[in-house]
Symmetry: C2
Subunit: 489 residues, 2 copies
């Protein structure tokens, strides 16, 4: 590979002769790892013209660099970084006098609240009971690729390259309105729909618009840990409402609540389904409070055991429910496409905020998804993944039964995880560390809870990324670890 | 196309017999536009099983629907939405009792500050002197497509489907560090780089982290209008610093400034380049203020007339400059990829905030861009677009000279726009409306200014989307419109 001539600069104010500065520039490039052995240097003529110096100056510099084995010349084909040039570190170690007090310089901080994550190398573990990762073996590579290529074709190119500013791909929006939302019992007009960068982005937009310091949000306890983080960023007050086996008890939503966050079809993480009577009562309670409900309908496609209940939004005569849907989780997390459905005034604000934050989700991704959906590939993918998850769930159930582990909750319609309870006195964060050394990844439950006296003995077992044949052994290792005597802390 | 059986729901609590409710459900689907003429209905057997009713009930409903010409049957192949079925409106008009007071329900508002945009149908205008849109004829479809397909290949699939959580594509980051940033004179380590969803997203992240109520930002006046909107969202105080022909005068940055936003290589919108002495003075001024500088290096690739000056960041020994770069504008706006380069503590916060807002830019886009860059296609694209823009700029210059229009500023190294001054007394917002009716799109200048007595006679002419052969006529129409007598307001 040739090193582009544009990479070379005579830094204004540097000391020394031009020749010395050119030599130093090349040596720095090598030592910083930017120039690699065997890469071709610009010709003396080109570099001289680019830097605005005489060619003889560059030639003299190159000759010196040859003598010190930074460069080697090959007859008639020019100069190359020598095979004997010094080996650089992996990435440049820029010497830098950090003269900025970043603690003072930053007006707001975000890193502190970050949720503990799975190890980056989770795929190298043998028993990854992690949640929300796609299984590459189940994905429909061939058809996604065809749709991507179609979306890159001349006919779709306008959609792909145009800066929509704040609009969405009309094909994707139409498909959602005509095909996806009706399956959840939802009717919507285009001005009631906004495409987002995944469900996380949808929840973030909704919380920024609906909340502010002085307002109060009610969340299920336990709940999706990242939700707590993003609600914290709004400065609002938080009420934790403990869920039971039927999900959120509407009467427990406290007075003064402005926004209720709920997962009615499939409580996160317990899997509970909110019964019809509670749904009606929740809408009634929200009406009495003049509150808005944000419904996170995550994983609704993962209903391989029985049809999912219609969305809470389908019962919403008031336009009081903001609905969050997604194509990501379990199916295809790297895709990062989700959507918000809500009253037009709300969607208008969400669209304006999205425009400030990121303009719009990339056009090519939107159009590829529109093709993949409308050609029916997504439905096939959902069915295929549903079959695989259904099989794994049976294996999980058998292994859990055989080892005597305790299930705290699981979704009746399907899903991709079990919510588990370890014996009292077990701290599943410690259990998780122990198991990690044994090749088993589980998700400790404490970060899901908001209440100060949160139990430490819950954990989640996801089965979207572990092959069936490893489940029994993995669950067995968890049971063994739980059976081991451990120091009381 | 067949209508999926999952689309059908018996809404709990609806009145009437089962048969009537099924008929109503189908009629509603047709009238709301969800079911279209010729689409196939589920068989009576499937729908009955799905709804949990007897097959005879469904058959009776279908027969009634046939009688009212909602459905038609074809021998042995089942039931279809009849060709005589009522024509629906474009999208469902859901009757909805809006019982929510959205003015009250929303804690924060964003839509009010939105920047006036170009017409959505700008491409249908004959003389679109608009800014920041790609010209599809110049884009390298074939190679982008090859890179996209490669990024969808089995080898890259992990990168594509994994939820990176808060990380970036290592290949893209490495390319930036080894190839792109050095051309701007910048050395960086991976922990000093964050991939963003375009430059807009980078500026938004930086402003959210560096500013808060009680802090003060200094911005160039005039400046990029969307910057003002996103700074407004932080609640900070704003100082407008008037630029001159050499860009931002460092001594004019007021005391008490915490963050300085600047476009040193190519002032937006005037095109001025900040001279070396001012760059040094600006860094010195920032050091004295203990302020951070955010450098927006937009359009640095568009240097087809002379090499661009190195970035301000390249002179930054303190780690005081946060650098914003992008692959989007003019080249490929729908791509939506940009990056932030800054001190590690700052990037750590930006990464955490990005994770809350949107997790990460889609993996497939990142990997496709990494291939497109590392195979040299991006460089070729930049050169091809540079040649086209260079030619258009000559035509622009000639047309402007011939018509006697006044240029207020233009980038020495290239770029894609002219900053223009109309005679005193002209309001270019009115001029723009007049011209729009004449097929000519220009961008009024007032939204670029912050000062209360902002001049109303500036405007911007972009030439990235107008073919050369239409430039002379378009510029001529602007000159004619300016020459027309107009009512004094």
């Amino acid at each position: 590979m040739a090193i582009p001539v544009e990479t070379f600069f005579l830094r204004p104010g540097d000391q020394g002769t031009l020749q010395a500065r050119i030599q130093q520039m090349v040596a720095e490039g090598v030592l910083s790892g930017r120039f690699r052995r065997g890469e071709k240097m610009p010709s003396t003529r080109r570099l001289a013209a680019h830097l605005g110096v005489s060619r003889i100056t560059v030639s003299l510099a190159y000759t010196e660099l040859q003598a010190s084995d930074y460069l080697s010349s090959r007859d008639r084909s020019g100069y190359y970084i020598s095979e004997g040039a010094p080996e650089p570190p992996d990435f440049p170690e820029t010497p830098r006098a950090e003269r900025v007090d970043w603690q003072r310089a930053m007006g707001r901080r975000f890193a502190a609240g970050a949720v503990p994550e799975r190890p980056a190398d989770w795929a190298s573990y043998r028993y990854p009971f992690i949640y929300g990762q796609a299984d590459p073996k189940l994905f429909d590579h061939a058809n996604w690729r065809l749709c991507a290529v179609q979306a890159l074709g001349a006919r779709d190119f306008g959609a792909l390259t145009q800066d929509y500013y704040d609009r969405d791909d009309p094909q994707l929006v139409e498909f959602l309105i005509r095909q996806t939302l009706p399956r959840r019992g939802i009717q919507a007009r285009p001005e009631e729909v906004l495409i987002t960068l995944g469900a996380q982005n949808a929840l973030w937009l909704a919380s920024q618009i609906l909340l502010s310091p002085g307002r109060r949000a009610a969340v299920e306890d336990p709940c999706y840990p990242a939700l707590r983080v993003l609600l914290g960023q709004t400065g609002c007050a938080l009420s934790a409402v403990a869920v039971d086996a039927q999900g959120l008890p509407p009467e427990a939503v406290p007075d003064g609540t402005d926004v209720i966050f709920t997962t009615p079809s499939h409580q996160c993480p317990s899997g509970a389904t909110l019964p019809l009577a509670r749904r009606r009562a929740l809408l009634e309670r929200a009406r009495a409070l003049e509150a808005v409900i944000v419904e996170d309908d995550y994983e609704f496609e993962m209903a391989y055991l029985q049809p999912p209940t219609p969305a809470l939004k389908s019962l919403d005569g008031d336009g009081r429910v903001v609905y969050v849907g997604s194509f990501s989780k379990s199916l295809f997390p790297g895709l990062r496409l989700g959507y918000l459905v809500g009253a037009a005034p709300f969607i208008r604000e969400a669209r304006a905020l999205r425009a400030s934050v990121l303009r719009h989700p990339p056009g090519h991704i939107q159009r590829t998804a529109a093709h993949f959906l409308s050609l029916g590939h997504y439905d096939s993918l959902v069915r295929r993944i549903g079959r695989a998850l259904g099989e794994r769930r049976q294996v999980m159930e058998a292994a859990i039964r055989d080892t005597g582990l305790e299930v705290a909750g699981v979704a009746a319609h399907g899903g991709s995880s079990f919510w588990m309870r370890a014996p009292e006195g077990i701290d599943t964060a410690e259990l998780s560390s122990d198991l990690q050394r044994d090749g088993v990844l589980i998700e400790p439950g404490a970060p899901f809870f908001l209440r100060p006296d949160a139990p430490r003995n819950f954990y989640r077992l996801g089965y979207s990324s572990i092959p069936s044949e490893r489940i029994a052994e993995g669950v067995g290792r968890i049971a063994q670890a739980l059976a081991r005597p451990r120091s009381q802390s």
